[in-house]
């Protein structure tokens, strides 16, 4: 099985997990990494810089219509929804918040699932609301791979437990196992 993209959703308690994951990916990581993380809406700068300190791949806050490229991480900008559009592009939206969230993990995951279908890996991390549960189900329903961080390890379990309730995840992983899994992804294309 080969994949075209990894999408990660997280909220409260996910920052350190994300940092560890981005730190341990090889610089030659063959897939794009899409990050839909809840964040303070009025603080536009600083987050990408904080994540970048230890990351081994470049992280950008994309502009609307940016082309998605492998080996880069795309962080949903503050106060925008981040969609994945046909043609492998980022599309941003200022539509009303979903699950009180903008960016909404559900929307990023569901639109990515439509584009990448069975070639998508979705990962839900620690978080304090249910956003993301529906999006992960959408990924699973369209044939993608659903991974949930082990709630026992999460600082806040609400998001991972809601996801596991809605979807039979392929893997329930610790942070270390998530890292190992991603490190073993070799290349995209046949």
């Amino acid at each position: 099985m080969y994949y075209k993209a990894v999408i990660i959703g997280g909220s409260a308690g996910s920052f350190q997990v994300i940092t560890r994951i981005l730190h341990s990916l090889p610089p030659t990581f063959p897939l794009p990494v899409l990050l839909s993380l809840h964040r303070l809406k009025h603080i536009r700068s600083g987050f990408v810089e904080a994540l970048s300190i230890k990351a081994s791949i470049p992280i950008v806050e994309p502009f609307d219509k940016d082309q998605i490229k492998p080996g880069r991480a795309y962080l949903a900008p503050a106060n925008y929804h981040m969609f994945i559009e046909l043609g492998n592009k980022i599309a941003l939206s200022t539509e009303e918040p979903v699950n009180h969230s903008r960016p909404s993990i559900d929307l990023s995951f569901a639109t990515a699932a439509q584009v990448y279908r069975e070639k998508l890996i979705g990962i839900i991390l620690s978080g304090a609301n249910r956003d993301g549960a529906y999006g992960l189900k959408k990924i699973k329903d369209l044939g993608g791979l659903a991974i949930v961080q082990d709630p026992a390890e999460c600082q806040v379990k609400t998001m991972t437990e809601a996801s596991l309730k809605l979807t039979k995840a392929d893997h329930v992983f610790s942070t270390q196992e998530i890292i190992k899994f991603l490190q073993n992804i070799k290349s995209t294309a046949p």
Partner: protein, 276 residues
């Protein structure tokens, strides 16, 4: 968030119906967000599916104005990006109003009222509200009436209030509205002189002589073809030395009008039209 979803073929069918029946062209709207808006319209109006919407569009001409209002995403926040509004107040507004009468300012994006009221409050606090001519683009009569009544959906008043505080406004945000039956009604004297311009999707009838056009977070709903077409119209309406503002995650780079503007402020995406 279990929601009703439609497919791409159905989305295209709705777009074709609208084009054939009303001449409004949504073919170059960005597909993902337009599909979502259609799902939103179908759910909120209790249509069974896309065919139900097509039926209504075909058989009830009065419904179309409602549709246009609902298909347009709401702005959802006043003083969104407070640092932009501070920049307009501190650097731009006096520059463009100095020595001229009835400076023309334009809320060019299809706004649900939030951008317009924010600009009007800024102008009022600068003592310039009666010195300018404000234009506002609207796509539906329903939206015009809603804005004129001051009943804009300020569901999250505390967000607007927090933005206003970050804007460093002169007064209290609550001075600008009153609550009636749980609904905020904004002070309509702020928008008394506004010229509402009804536009269709391709902006083929725009005002001229504009010194400041706010066009934030609208090209995100377009594909590249429509983006170039509409930006060209806007570019023609802005005077040399005038300003055009996009959303903070939108850019003129790689568009057909990029060589007609210089980037005045990168963080706020304020562009200034070249004089030659």
């Amino acid at each position: 968030m279990i929601r009703y979803e439609i497919g791409i073929v159905e989305t295209r069918n709705v777009i074709k119906t609208i084009l054939d029946t009303y001449g409004y062209d949504f073919r170059d709207y960005a597909l993902t967000s337009f599909k979502r808006r259609l799902e939103h319209v179908i759910m909120n109006n209790g249509f069974k599916d896309a065919d139900g919407l097509i039926d209504r569009l075909t058989n009830n001409k009065e419904y179309f104005d409602n549709f246009l209002c609902d298909i347009t995403p709401e702005t959802t926040e006043m003083f969104r990006d407070p640092s932009l509004w501070r920049t307009i107040r501190d650097e731009i507004i006096h520059d463009i109003t100095k020595g001229s009468t009835k400076t023309k300012l334009w809320i060019a994006a299809f706004d649900s009222g939030e951008e317009l009221f924010s600009l009007a409050v800024l102008l009022k606090e600068a003592g310039l509200l009666s010195e300018v001519q404000l234009y506002a683009s609207v796509i539906s009569e329903k939206t015009i009436n809603k804005i004129k009544s001051g009943r804009i959906d300020a569901r999250e008043l505390e967000v607007n209030d927090a933005n206003y505080v970050r804007f460093n406004g002169k007064y209290n945000f609550s001075d600008y509205y009153k609550i009636e039956n749980g609904q905020a009604i904004f002070d309509t004297s702020l928008i008394q002189g506004v010229n509402f311009i009804k536009l269709n999707t391709v902006y083929d009838n725009v005002p001229g002589g504009i010194k400041l056009a706010l066009f934030r977070n609208q090209i995100i709903y377009y594909n590249q073809i429509l983006q170039d077409k509409v930006l060209n119209q806007l570019s023609n309406s802005v005077v040399p030395g005038g300003y055009m503002v996009l959303g903070v995650k939108e850019t003129l780079e790689n568009t057909g009008v990029s060589n007609r503007f210089t980037l005045y402020n990168d963080l706020e995406k304020i562009y200034k039209k070249k004089t030659t």
